[in-house]
């Protein structure tokens, strides 16, 4: 067993390491960009909602429909569907760079929804108390809405990240690389079962670890 394990490492170690790095790259960049886009959209969804501070039916409905449309397209179809757009944004539609765009288009609306539902949980009364104290809206957003929902936000982002890891597995189709791609190309297409098992095990550890981390952080931030 030890000899076969070191043999395996010799043969595959580098590939697996490289694939892991690629996965981390894709996930972290796409996540960051998706948060930068999704979080403000989530806030906008809450603020323009009927009966809320900046009520605006047009913006709210437009955003709602737009998000629903994107959310109803499976990632694999989205990947090809927006190829021209991807090319226009980053100049290429292949490789890690080319896969970031569809990953963001896929994840940002999801994050917007998750943030929306997290922020909606915040007690309306606290916002009112801050309005009554003459606090500016942008400070209320930051110091009341986001602060009070931070535990739910962390949980939402954990879910989004795990979804993102799943989506990166399909990134191989446009040459994005990553663990999913490795398992598919070698494990499935070339019958290297060991590679498949190891990458799947790695993915499971990754997802489990992330979820535990997210749960722990959320529990720590929750004070009630």
């Amino acid at each position: 067993m030890p000899s076969t394990f070191s043999e395996f490492l010799n043969n595959w170690g580098e590939d697996i390491w490289a694939a892991t790095i690629e996965t981390f790259q894709m996930v972290s960049i796409a996540l960051l960009v998706s948060i930068i886009i999704g979080l403000p959209l989530g806030i906008l969804l809450v603020m323009t909602r009927p009966g809320k501070g900046m009520e605006n039916k047009f913006v709210y409905q437009l955003l709602n429909i737009f998000i629903n449309i994107i959310r109803s397209i499976p990632f694999i179809i989205l990947l090809f569907f927006i190829l021209p757009f991807t090319k226009w944004v980053v100049g290429t539609s292949i490789g890690v760079k080319g896969v970031i765009v569809p990953l963001v288009v896929y994840t940002a609306p999801y994050i917007a929804r998750l943030m929306e539902s997290a922020i909606l949980e915040v007690d309306r009364g606290v916002v009112e108390a801050y309005e009554a104290m003459g606090i500016k809206t942008r400070n209320i957003i930051w110091h009341v809405l986001l602060r009070e929902s931070r535990s739910s936000i962390i949980l939402g982002l954990t879910i989004a990240t795990i979804g993102l890891i799943g989506a990166t597995a399909m990134a191989g189709l446009v040459g994005g690389g990553g663990l999913g791609d490795l398992a598919y190309r070698f494990g499935h297409l070339r019958y290297e079962a060991d590679v498949m098992y190891v990458t799947v095990a790695l993915l499971i550890i990754l997802v489990q670890g992330l979820q535990s981390l997210g749960n722990a952080a959320a529990a720590r931030l929750k004070k009630d």
Partner: protein, 346 residues
């Protein structure tokens, strides 16, 4: 200090519109505690939320300290609101922040520097009696303590007026009493004008100087608390007072007693005037008073009591006894009024 002039508020929704306030005018004087009482849905919350424009009146004006809030720009309105404190039934604290931060964060956001923030937080947490709880989270506090934090948060802006929206309605009787004491102290020591709304008569009776009764979006009666207790005009007002004094006498007893003598409701201020006068009645006249029910409540200035008595004796002697009681400063209502009382009890 707070002047609402002909304020109306109409909420229009999908299922038609609701007139929550119907031409309401109120003047709260500087330094007083003004109470608004009414049943659920009367429009009390809408009224108090108009006082700092959390709810913008459909028509009418709202002046606080001489400034017409309805005419201010959003920026100026925010400035004005910093001088109008508000506390709520649900406390409305940040769950994720300590007691200290709950008071400190709004101060920081209002532009005070670190040192000023620290001084104010410490000062006002001490005033509300929470100097030991700086690092506790709201989830670790009792309802009364949470309301104290909310009061400290409001006071820390050093407002001229404090609005209280059912501030004690979520609290048990003992805690209510303690919070009312605190509000009295704030009014007395810091000179802060208080406008409060409630559906509980004991809150009015305990700390208010003046009171308005609301029903269906209108103020149906207002005056000093004493006036309202002694000469209530409207049925709703009488009902609220009846909720404090419930003279619940079986019908059969009443019929039995009415045969020989007279039933009278005696009201008096101060503990000295009621019972001693009644004791003298039996000494000076050929009348035997029999107390059917009675109670004394603590009002802001002095105690106020009501006794329902049966005065047994000749008609003439009973009349003389009643005159004597009135002379002694006791207010006497006869059988007619008592009939009203029965209604308000049931």
């Amino acid at each position: 200090m707070i002047q609402l002039e002909n304020v109306t508020k109409v909420f229009s929704g999908k299922k038609g519109s609701i007139q929550a306030l119907d031409d309401v005018s109120l003047h709260v004087k500087k330094g007083e505690i003004f109470g608004v009482i009414g049943y659920s849905g009367a429009g009390k919350s809408t009224l108090i939320r108009c006082a700092n424009l959390l709810e913008r009146p459909t028509t009418g004006t709202v002046k606080v300290n001489g400034v017409d809030l309805t005419a201010l720009s959003p920026g100026k309105l925010r400035e004005a609101r910093q001088k109008i404190g508000m506390i709520f039934q649900g406390f409305n604290l940040l769950k994720t922040a300590t007691v200290y931060d709950n008071v400190a964060i709004p101060l920081k956001l209002s532009g005070l520097n670190k040192q000023e923030v620290k001084e104010r937080v410490e000062k006002y947490l001490e005033i509300v009696g929470l100097e030991q709880k700086h690092q506790a989270y709201p989830g670790e506090l009792s309802g009364g303590q949470k309301q104290r934090v909310a009061i400290a948060r409001a006071l820390a802006h050093e407002p001229e007026v404090l609005l209280c929206d059912e501030a004690t309605s979520a609290l048990d009787p003992d805690t209510t009493e303690a919070i009312l004491e605190l509000l009295l102290k704030i009014n007395r020591d810091l000179g802060i004008t208080i406008l409060l709304i409630t559906h509980e008569m004991n809150v009015i009776q305990r700390i208010c100087d003046r009171v308005a009764v609301m029903e269906q979006g209108q103020v149906i009666e207002q005056g000093t608390v004493m006036e309202l207790f002694t000469t209530p005009q409207k049925a709703t007002t009488k009902k609220f007072i009846g909720s404090v004094f419930s003279h619940n006498i079986p019908e059969s007893t009443l019929t039995h007693l009415q045969g020989n003598g007279r039933i009278a409701l005696l009201s008096f201020f101060g503990i000295s005037s009621g019972e001693p006068a009644l004791a003298l009645v039996s000494k000076h006249f050929n009348v035997f008073p029999n107390i059917l029910s009675g109670s004394i409540i603590q009002m802001k200035q002095e105690p106020y009591g009501q006794l329902l008595v049966h005065l047994r004796g000749d008609k003439e002697e009973v009349e003389k006894a009643i005159e004597f009681l009135i002379e002694k400063g006791v207010q006497v209502e006869g059988e007619d009024h008592y009939a009203v009382n029965i209604q308000r009890v049931s």
